[in-house]
Each structure stands twice: as structure tokens, then as C-alpha cells.
């Protein structure tokens, strides 16, 4: 099976990640940050090493890097942590359910109001669309750095500047951008939320919530942190405030190696390789009038969404699976984005290569898709 569904979970993982996970299972079984015995301390040192590695990658202070179970957890913690006492927020029309559902839930339970900014072909107009929606009670803008449906890169630096100018919080869903674009807090994010298992090449069940520390978060989960145990109140200090319960030591150690792999390869080189595969596929698919590719002149991360006329996206992905190719069809947990794209209810088929895919594999896939059209 050739995996072209890497924007869901990258696979295969780099050898060093597989080795690190295997070593973690064998050697680092202590509970980090809970005891003083050697097993616990060894695990804690490995978790700290991973925290330092992620902090350097995203330009953060080490203590401002919190490990989460995935990007959805990170986004819920950031959005609800900022908005749980009400107010208004602005999201984009390209959001994943990891953003739109918690925002909707807050609107039902906490009286939060929200507006959805339309994404224009022109980045400056997109920023103007956001700006028009800002109200006196707007507390934050939350948007994806790159769409998980089309790969379209949003003008996140300009949106960050807008947030600074208006003194509101900026939360970035960087799940599809981290590891491909040079995403750092220096871009102006107050919170970077990302999964670990996509372009960062970490294991499933890993995610990151990274902050510049400007906006203290209310917690949505409280519990054991290994410190201040005599107190009923959740500790204020990061990252423990946001990491109640035992962390995923094995996943975190694997994620650390994934980030090191990406750092060595460089996001720019990985992006170039994958973008070349996308361009190759688009060129081949453009030979068929029955295939629609959802691309414009804007900037994209390496994702290509397409449809084959007369066949549902689920059917296309199933037929491709039968031929040995893994691609995701449907709505990609992003009905809002498909609504903006005009691809409801059928969704699209999504091609997302990894650093390990080749031109030959891409050509084989193109042949398989063209044989369906």
C-alpha cells in the first residue's frame, strides 16, 4: 500500500522515529515527573529533552511547550481556555472541526458569539475580511495556517499583525503547516496548536500546544501534575498546568526524533520535494476533462484535492485503495471548508504525499486515477 494520506497521518515514519519509540518502550517505562527514583527521572529527562527540541523548533521557551494527545486537544485547550467566560471570536471559513466544533459548543454553552471570515483569492482581502468582523468584545482570532482540504496557506503573519494591533489573541491551527513551513512564535502566534503525527513525523497520539505566554489559559482538564500536590487548585505554572495526568512518554520521545528529522532535512526541502509531487500529479490529471482539481494561483502546502466527474469521492478513494493507494475521500472533518469550496456534500479526494513518496509512485497513482475517469 502506498500512502498518499500523509496529511491525516504520515506513514512510514523515519527509521530514527521507529527506533526511538522501540527504545522508549524498552527503557523509559517510569512515570515522568512523579517520583524521584531512577526510572522516573530517566523518563523525565527524555520528556524534557523533547520539550527543549520542540521549543527550539517553534521558537518558544521550553516551559511554554505542552504535550497534548493531538491537535484537537491543543485547540480545545486554547480556544476554551481563552473563551470560556464568553466574548466574541473570529474564525476562517476553512476551519477543521477541531476548531469549528469547540467554537460552536461554546456558543451553545457559554454564550460565545463567533463570526466566520471568508477566504479570498487575495491575501490582503482575506485580512480585510477578518478585520471587518472584529468587534469591541472580540477576544481572539483562531484560524488554520493551511487548509487540511486544499492545502491553501492563509496569511497568518498578516493576521497575527492584525491581532497585535487590536490587542487580541491569535490562535493558529498549524496541523498542516508545521514541518512544511517555518512556523514559529516569531510569526506572531500567541498559541501554536499542532498534531505530532503529520509532517512532524511523530507517532499518533501526539500533539503540541505552544504559547508565547501572553495569555494565561483557564484549564479544561485538571488533575495530577506531580507538583503542588497538597493544594486543591491546579498549579499556575506551565507546562504542568496544561498536562494533567501521565503524559505519553513513548509518543513524546518519538515526536522528538520526528522533529529532529524534520530539522535536519529542513521544512523547506521537504516542502520542495512534496510540492514537486503535487505539481506532477496536477499536470497528469489536467489531461482529463472529467477531473476537477481544486487549486488556484494562491500558495499551498503539499495537498491536492480533486474529484472525478460522476463518481463520489468515497467511491474514488475506495477504488484507489483496491489498487494499492491510500487517499482520503469525503469531507475530511472540515464541512466548513467544503462549504467554502462549494464541494458539499460530496467532498473531495485528497492527495497528500510525504517526504518518502517518489515521482514513480505519483505517476502510478495518476495512471490509476486517469483509468477511473
Amino acid at each position: 500500500m502506498i500512502n498518499f494520506d500523509n496529511s491525516a497521518s504520515s506513514f512510514p515514519k523515519p527509521l530514527r522515529v521507529r527506533r526511538a519509540v522501540s527504545e522508549a518502550i524498552a527503557r523509559y517505562g517510569g512515570n515522568p515527573g512523579r517520583s524521584g527514583h531512577t526510572l522516573s527521572m530517566q523518563a523525565a529527562e527524555k520528556v524534557y529533552e523533547a520539550r527543549e527540541t520542540a521549543a527550539a523548533f517553534f521558537g518558544a521557551e521550553t516551559e511554554n511547550v505542552a504535550f497534548t494527545a493531538n491537535a484537537t486537544f491543543a485547540l480545545n485547550m486554547a480556544i476554551k481556555g481563552i473563551m470560556q467566560y464568553g466574548g466574541h471570536m473570529v474564525i476562517s471559513g476553512y476551519e477543521h472541526n477541531a476548531v469549528s466544533r469547540p467554537v460552536y459548543a461554546l456558543s451553545q454553552s457559554r454564550g460565545v458569539t463567533f463570526s466566520t471570515a471568508e477566504i479570498d483569492l487575495d491575501d490582503d482581502r482575506t485580512v480585510e475580511n477578518f478585520e471587518r468582523l472584529i468587534r469591541p468584545d472580540t477576544k481572539c482570532i483562531c484560524c488554520t495556517a493551511a487548509s487540511n482540504v486544499t492545502g491553501r496557506i492563509l496569511p497568518y503573519r498578516k493576521l497575527a499583525a492584525l491581532c497585535r494591533e487590536r490587542d487580541i489573541c491569535f490562535i493558529g491551527d498549524c496541523s498542516q503547516a508545521a514541518g512544511l513551513l517555518d512556523i514559529t512564535l516569531g510569526d506572531g502566534f500567541d498559541f501554536i496548536c499542532t498534531s505530532g503525527q503529520k509532517a512532524l513525523c511523530g507517532p499518533s497520539g501526539t500533539g503540541l500546544l505552544i504559547t508565547d505566554g501572553r495569555y494565561p489559559l483557564s484549564t479544561i482538564i485538571e488533575g495530577g501534575t506531580g507538583t503542588g500536590s497538597a493544594l486543591l487548585a491546579q498549579p499556575d505554572e506551565l507546562p504542568e498546568r496544561l498536562e494533567s495526568g501521565t503524559v505519553n512518554t513513548v509518543g513524546i520521545i518519538g515526536l522528538c526524533e520526528g522533529i529532529r528529522f524534520v530539522t535536519e532535512q529542513t521544512p523547506a526541502a521537504i516542502m520542495r520535494h512534496e510540492q514537486a509531487l503535487c505539481d506532477r500529479l496536477i499536470r497528469r490529471l489536467s489531461r482529463s476533462r472529467r477531473i476537477t482539481v481544486y487549486r488556484t494561483e494562491a500558495r499551498y502546502v503539499p495537498i491536492v484535492s480533486f474529484n472525478v466527474e460522476g463518481i463520489s469521492s468515497h467511491e474514488v478513494s475506495q477504488r484507489l485503495s483496491d489498487k494499492g493507494f491510500a487517499l482520503r475521500g469525503g469531507l475530511h472533518c472540515a464541512a466548513l471548508a467544503h462549504n467554502s469550496l462549494g464541494t458539499l456534500p460530496q467532498g473531495t479526494v485528497r492527495f497528500s504525499p510525504s517526504v518518502f513518496n517518489t515521482s514513480r509512485q505519483t505517476d502510478m497513482l495518476a495512471d490509476a486515477i486517469l483509468s477511473l475517469s
Partner: protein, 91 residues
């Protein structure tokens, strides 16, 4: 005296000096800050360890960093780098 002998003597002198410097214990507010403090001290060339804070020094569970450096210097370094900590203590 050969270079090798000079090197050997230097190592011995440094080891004796290290032994002579008493360890300073600083209670930290979290395991992460304890690790960060250890990393900072190691960059200074000061050997340090993260240890569990003894019960009589702590109101609950917590971690300390034990560093082979004078209390004033160690605490001063943490303060200059904005690393929060609790009191220093002796064992």
C-alpha cells in the same frame, strides 16, 4: 613535566575543588523548571542533579536541583534567567 602529566594534575585538582564545593539545594516549582535549571547550571560547568525534595523541605511533592556551586551564585543565575524557584536549603 609532560603535557600528559599537566593534564592529569589539572583533572585531579578540578576533582578536588569540585569535592570541596558544597552542594547547594534549591527547591523548584516544577520538574520542568528543575530540568531547565539543571541545563543552565551544566552550561556553566557546574555539576547538578534533579532530586526529589525531601519531605521536611516541601509542603507537598516537588523537585529540587542540587548544584555544586555557592548558593548566591546559583540562585543569582536562576534569577537572571527568570527561572522561578523556591528557597535554597542545606542537607
Amino acid at each position: 613535566m609532560s603535557f600528559r602529566e599537566v593534564g592529569a594534575y589539572t583533572v585531579i585538582v578540578v576533582m578536588i575543588m569540585n569535592k570541596a564545593i558544597a552542594r547547594t539545594y534549591i527547591a523548584m516549582t516544577s520538574i520542568t523548571y528543575a530540568m531547565k535549571a539543571k541545563s543552565l547550571f551544566e552550561k556553566q560547568g557546574w555539576h547538578s542533579d534533579v532530586i526529589r525534595t525531601p519531605k521536611d523541605q516541601s509542603s507537598g511533592c516537588g523537585y529540587s536541583v542540587a548544584v555544586r556551586a555557592a548558593e548566591r551564585e546559583a540562585v543569582g543565575l536562576l534569577d537572571r534567567h527568570g527561572i522561578p524557584h523556591k528557597a535554597a536549603y542545606k542537607l
